[in-house]
């Protein structure tokens, strides 16, 4: 017969008690671990979701950078409306539905390596025609993707899932965010005066206003005013002369620096600076009593450089100091002339009645109105010293369109240039950006009216009116600007969109929270 042992019974009870205790403790511990881990996963997923936004924005920036590269290489993409795939060097017209992938470095939780954080983006070209000018708008759709760390785990609160819409279903768990950004072109002629460094308007007689040569109600035969043969004013139309046009002020002058000495000049628009101050001891925007618009201090727009033309079909010549006529070609095949080479720089220096003339090309010995485009590249300086009794030293025949690229200094003084088109859009002067540390100056002076646009991002710009009619009709961009005398800048609003595209600017930015499909990237009206 087996006799029960009291010590055995107590040992069994102790074992049960220990097991129960351990079980309870284990349950408590596991509950704690699950709770803590769930919250940790929620925070990690939120972090990945934030990183996905950074990745998506990186894709947008990469798209913009490639557009800027296209500008520098003069080969903006022409394909559309399908998304455009890119490679280097820049193609100009390959269409495909394949997006471009950008990898980003990723640290911290989750799978390591470049493949854990990336953006897929597409570029789509839309041409939008306003003021009869087709303008390239690009849609960039970028999807940023970041791998989720840890195991498959949903937050305890469904609101997290609603907000972040994480992908937990596939073998590769990810957080994705989609950005649709639209960029629009910025042209070299979109304001009367724009600089990187200081603007100095050194006389209260200076004024900057605007008119619209394409609007018969806001121009006199396309000009800001009308004068008789002696230069006397007959009809006023610009805002300075007759300001009540009931249109928004458009003569904005802008600098990427904080410095703008306005000199109590009349400005029929805003003065925009980058951090300029109008009060206190550190005033950098001074004498603004006659500014009709606002003083804005959060402006910055990059002024892109101009590179030397790489022409293979130009007519080469050495330096010029005698009269010469450059005749035109067609709009699709303009006549191109190059003075000097990079290795042997050539100047144009005119004085004593010598004249450079831009005229129509000929067909059968007669002027051909269809041959009205001339492009000239001066590898050195281009200067006139006046001296002509009737005409200036540079003459543009009415109807001829001229582009001039100057690598050195430019100085048109006296009756330096007469543009018989009386239209600013017919003359574009570009200052090729000099090497770092090299100065460049562009001076326009004299009594005659100047019709044209100047874009010289590396040049110190000087506009000096003389007598009573120092009128500069057009748009002017330089490294810095100095105006004195009775200088008048009369900005032609019809210019906006002509000239070159200098950069692209974001016009719309939108995060698409709908998870199925993406925007088409097409303009609808």
């Amino acid at each position: 017969m087996k006799i029960p042992s009291a010590s055995q019974s107590r040992a069994a009870s102790a074992l049960v008690a220990v097991i129960i205790t351990v079980t309870i403790l284990a349950l408590l511990a596991s509950s704690l671990v699950v709770n803590v881990n769930n919250r940790r996963m929620t925070l990690s997923q939120a972090s990945a979701w934030q990183e996905a936004l950074a990745a998506a924005e990186a894709g947008v920036h990469q798209g913009i950078a490639q557009l800027e590269q296209g500008l520098a290489q003069n080969s903006l993409p022409l394909a559309g409306p399908s998304p455009i795939a890119w490679s280097s060097p820049f193609p100009s017209g390959t269409t495909t539905s394949t997006s471009t992938r950008v990898y980003l470095s990723h640290a911290g939780e989750g799978p390591s390596g470049a493949s854990n954080s990336y953006a897929d983006y597409t570029l789509t070209l839309n041409e939008n025609t306003t003021q009869t000018i087709p303008r390239p708008y690009y849609c960039i759709v970028s999807v940023g993707t970041v791998g989720l760390p840890g195991g498959k785990s949903l937050s305890m609160d469904s609101a997290d899932a609603v907000l972040r819409k994480l992908n937990l279903q596939t073998a590769t768990r990810t957080a994705t965010r989609t950005i649709e950004a639209w960029v629009r072109p910025v042209y070299t002629t979109q304001s009367p005066l724009k600089t990187d460094q200081a603007i100095n308007l050194n006389n209260h007689n200076i004024f900057v206003d605007s008119f619209n040569s394409a609007d018969p109600n806001r121009s006199v035969n396309g000009a800001p005013d009308a004068r008789d043969s002696n230069g006397h004013l007959l009809t006023n139309i610009g805002q300075f002369d007759a300001p009540n046009f009931n249109v928004p002020l458009a003569a904005n002058i802008a600098t990427n620096s904080p410095f703008a000495a306005i000199g109590n000049a009349s400005v029929y628009g805003d003065v925009l600076t980058n951090g300029g101050a109008t009060d206190g001891s550190g005033t950098t925007v001074t004498n603004i009593s006659n500014v009709k618009g606002q003083i804005i201090n959060d402006y910055y727009e990059p002024i892109d450089p101009i590179y030397a033309p790489q022409w293979s079909n130009a007519t080469l010549s050495n330096s010029i100091n005698n009269s010469k006529t450059f005749t035109g070609g067609t709009s699709t095949n303009p006549a191109r002339y190059q003075v000097g080479t990079v290795a042997s720089i050539g100047d144009i220096r005119l004085s004593g009645g010598k004249q450079v003339k831009f005229d129509f090309g000929t067909t059968g010995g007669s002027p051909d109105p269809s041959k009205d485009y001339v492009e000239l590249y001066v590898t050195g300086n281009f200067t006139t010293r006046g001296g002509g009794n009737t005409d200036g030293s540079v003459v543009i025949v009415n109807g001829v369109n001229v582009k001039i690229y100057v690598a050195g200094d430019l100085n048109f003084s006296g009756n330096g240039l007469i543009n018989y088109n009386n239209k600013a859009s017919s003359l574009e002067i570009y200052g090729i950006s000099p090497p770092d540390g090299t100065t460049q100056s562009f001076t326009l002076a004299g009594n005659s009216d100047f019709y044209g646009t100047v874009y010289a991002p590396g040049a110190d710009l000087k506009l000096a009116g003389g007598g009573s009619s120092g009128e500069f009709v057009g748009s002017f961009t330089g490294k810095s600007a100095f105006l004195n005398g009775t200088t008048q800048i009369r900005y032609d609003e019809a210019l906006a969109g002509s000239g070159r595209i200098s950069s692209f600017k974001i016009a719309a930015w939108f995060e698409d929270v709908k998870k199925t499909g993406t925007f088409t990237g097409q303009l609808q009206f």
């Binding site: 803590v36 600017k505 930015w509 995060e511 609808q524």
Partner: protein, 265 residues
């Protein structure tokens, strides 16, 4: 033969003396009280940790939701707090309406359920166009009117909880030439949807009508001043009191949001 249990005379013969029992009971009492105290402290600590974690999770979600809407907004309208020093809720944002119904009778946005206010499952996109006068982008309906939604964040209450509610109203239209910037009081829209984006437990006896007691959301510019139309970023600050024993201890989260869409010129 009758078997008798064998007793150890030395152990079985003598019981515990009274002092031994008293000492044992005293030790047991001390051990139990320590265990109880530890258990209560553990429970409180666990509850406090959970509350803080929940509050932080909710704060983070509200900040993320606010940030996403602020980035998309073309215009903003804040309330000024009672002390006049900061902006606070309600906040009304104007956001271009990028979705349209598909098929036509169905709403462009979910109207009920946990996804209320999100684009509807089968909604179609509204593609933009260019406004010729400025060259800027616009979003229009089929009649050529600009079309936008109003997104409003405000305090709410659910039982003993303070909540943050995101509500959208749509569509709002305006001529292409006008500035579409919505601000309270909003005109009645054809559709509305709202959902809670954050929920915070009320641990104090204060009324839910006092939002600062449980949850405080403020907005300032980068200089900690009231937000003006020229500001390009908003500093969002959210204070919660997740600790029931120490409501004065705040869980604070800050986020600086760049007003992307509103700052394009």
């Amino acid at each position: 033969m009758i078997a008798h249990p064998v007793y150890n005379k030395q152990t079985g013969g003598g019981g515990m003396t009274l002092p031994e029992i008293m000492i044992a009971l005293a030790i047991l009492g001390i051990v139990l009280s320590v265990c109880y105290g530890s258990s209560v402290a553990l429970q409180r600590g666990f509850a406090a940790t959970t509350s803080w974690a929940d509050a932080r999770t909710n704060q983070l979600r509200v900040l993320d939701s606010l940030a996403a809407d602020l980035r998309n907004a073309t215009a903003k309208s804040f309330t000024i707090s009672a002390d006049g020093l900061t902006n606070t809720l309600p906040l009304t944002l104007t956001i271009p309406m990028r979705y349209q119904p598909n098929p036509s009778p169905s709403p462009a946005y979910e109207t009920t359920g946990p996804l209320a206010g999100d684009p509807a499952r089968f909604a179609l996109r509204v593609e933009p166009g260019v406004y010729p006068t400025t060259g800027g982008m616009q979003y229009r309906d089929s009649s050529g009117q600009q079309v936008a939604i109003a997104v409003t964040y405000r305090y709410g209450a659910s039982g003993t909880k303070r909540t943050i509610v995101r509500r959208i109203d749509w569509p709002y239209t305006a001529a292409p030439t006008s500035t579409l910037a919505l601000s309270p009081p909003l005109l009645a829209a054809a559709n509305t949807a709202s959902r809670e984006v954050g929920s915070f437990t009320n641990y104090s006896s204060a009324s839910l009508s006092n939002p600062d007691n449980i949850l405080k959301v403020t907005f300032t510019n980068k200089d900690m001043q009231l937000i003006s139309s020229s500001d390009t970023a908003v500093v969002v600050r959210m204070e919660a009191s997740p600790d029931s024993l120490h409501p004065e201890k705040k869980s604070v989260l800050n986020d600086t949001v760049f007003l992307r869409e509103a700052t394009f010129k």
